[in-house]
Symmetry: C2
Subunit: 337 residues, 2 copies
């Protein structure tokens, strides 16, 4: 436990969560509310700042506040903290979230993409900690495919804060499924929960269920067409992972989010396709592929450990991270801190 505490914010399109934190995987305190997007961004910022304020006024055993971290849907332009055409926060394009919050609170905050903070939490408190791994990539297979990259223990922002978007690697160059990012053929269109439903409709016509969870249940009940959906998902994941593995050669790739619970259904085709596609994978695959057992000096692909609190934990961790500029962020980028 730290002598100091932090406050973290997980700004989601549906829920807004705020927590006080001083170490470990538990919170000192949490506040949760719906994100009132329809009331406008000023209202959301007010809700967020009121909750932060209420936590700063409590006395957590006399601990001093280390800082405030916010995880937000991206893309996010850093160091400024400006949202750029965020698909999940319509009408927030160009909004300087950092400035709005700092003005309202009268103190600096740290802001970061939601997938990046989730990956940070997995590295510091989840699988990365368990296996002693400094560098990893998390792919969150939710309604979209989020992705965060931790290199040598730090978030890889890229030069303008937009690094880590593995969900938009092209996995089907001839694909016609348009992506929210404006492209098409992106991993997000082939491995997200909404992709599972769309692909199920293609394989099953009118019989397709409305959620990816139901498609998985059908597959486990023996429906061959539903099983095919997840074989497709596994192959698409493998194509995306091939790019990541051949380029980055990380020791650990974690799959999180709702679709990752169908691991039993997509993992066999994913590992098969990976072996045939990625020579770096072939040269470094674990002796026991697909077993939930980490092998050092290999390419391990496993499910994420922290579940839906990863984003909030990661936001709470931000103020405790090293402040030296790196990750290609341009000079002076952390001058505000």
């Amino acid at each position: 436990m730290n002598e100091r505490y932090s406050i973290g914010v997980d700004l989601g399109a549906t829920n807004l969560r705020i927590a006080a934190y001083c170490g470990g995987t538990e919170f000192l305190d949490t506040i949760s509310m719906p994100t009132r997007l329809n009331e406008g961004r000023d209202c959301v910022v007010r809700d967020m700042c009121d909750a932060i304020q209420s936590l700063t006024e409590k006395n957590y055993g006399g601990r001093a506040l280390e800082g405030i971290g916010i995880g937000t849907p991206g893309p996010l332009e850093l160091p400024e903290g400006i949202l750029r055409l965020p698909p999940n926060l319509p009408r927030w394009d160009g909004f300087n979230l950092r400035q709005a919050v700092e003005t309202k609170l009268g103190r600096p905050v740290e802001i970061e993409g939601d997938a990046n903070v989730a990956a940070l939490a997995e590295q510091k408190l989840g699988a990365g900690r368990e296996y002693g791994v400094d560098s990893l990539c998390v792919l969150t297979l939710g309604s979209g495919v989020g992705s965060g990259l931790i290199l040598d223990g730090e978030i890889w922002h890229g030069s303008t804060g937009m690094g880590g978007e593995g969900g938009h690697i092209v996995v089907n160059s001839g694909g016609s499924a348009p992506c929210g990012c404006g492209g098409n053929g992106c991993l997000e269109q082939y491995a997200s929960a909404s992709a599972v439903v769309r692909i199920a409709r293609q394989h099953m016509d009118g019989a397709a269920p409305a959620t990816s969870r139901e498609v998985a249940l059908l597959a486990r009940a023996g429906d061959a067409r539903a099983a095919l959906v997840f074989e497709d998902v596994g192959r698409s994941l493998a194509i995306g992972l091939t790019g990541l593995i051949n380029t980055l050669n990380l020791p650990l790739y974690l799959l999180g989010g709702g679709v990752s619970q169908a691991w039993d259904l997509f993992a066999p085709s994913m590992f098969r396709e990976l072996s045939s596609r990625s020579y770096v994978y072939r040269l470094t695959q674990p002796d026991n592929v697909g077993a939930a057992k980490f092998e050092p000096h290999k390419t391990n692909i496993m499910t994420a450990q922290l579940g839906s609190t990863a984003g909030l934990l990661g936001a709470c961790l931000l103020p405790f991270q090293q402040k030296a500029p790196r990750s290609g962020l341009r000079e002076g980028s952390l001058a505000h801190q």
Copy 2:
């Protein structure tokens, strides 16, 4: 100019080049010879070590030897320095090149993939230096597509030394062109010199020339089918770059190698496709796309500056690099130094 000098080796499948170096982009001394692959690897190692020895015996103004760096075709397993199924060095699979050279010389050497050292040279002495950029990716469009990644001024090895293989990102998931890596649909099969010739054969039947340079000459002379070949190359490069840009958000991507001289022919379709595929690119594209002018805080894609000496320069730079372990290489990885 340094007070000390280094010796660098560029081990290619065709040529073996050795140089003494003390700074800048010029060498103190160079030795060049054919790589006698047919005589066996012991012969190649002997040729290499004899040349290194002859350079260590010279007196370069009384300078002391800082160290010896070797760039080799990969994949290379680090920290050991073992070659793993290197497509360009048949029969060298499993060969511990580091050990063989160190035993023969009786002193430690640093060993690194050839594309990685070329990228290091571009960052320290080429485009990276000119534009003040710490992080960049080089794609070398030669007989294959090599790729090296420099993050925060250092080679990104990945956890087992096999990072940076951007040439094997899948750009055509339905593609049937088998790749030397054992996969198919890799960028290497769509943007290398041999790919240009193969695609030309598809577009031009019997009229296709035998080299990528001739295809380019035909395209510039107005042959529409030859022009189409490079439009294809541009689109494939864009799909590969989309993965790199969305994941890494680097300020600079450099294209080198013979095919990069056809920049005028493939760049228009590459930039068009990139704008439609990569939202990180759209959000960060230079005001003047395709101009040979670096724009800070943008995603710049340009031709490499150092040409065919990049690999040898990078090998010479290796001994001058910081020795602290990083880039995800496992603990103790640099213990031999």
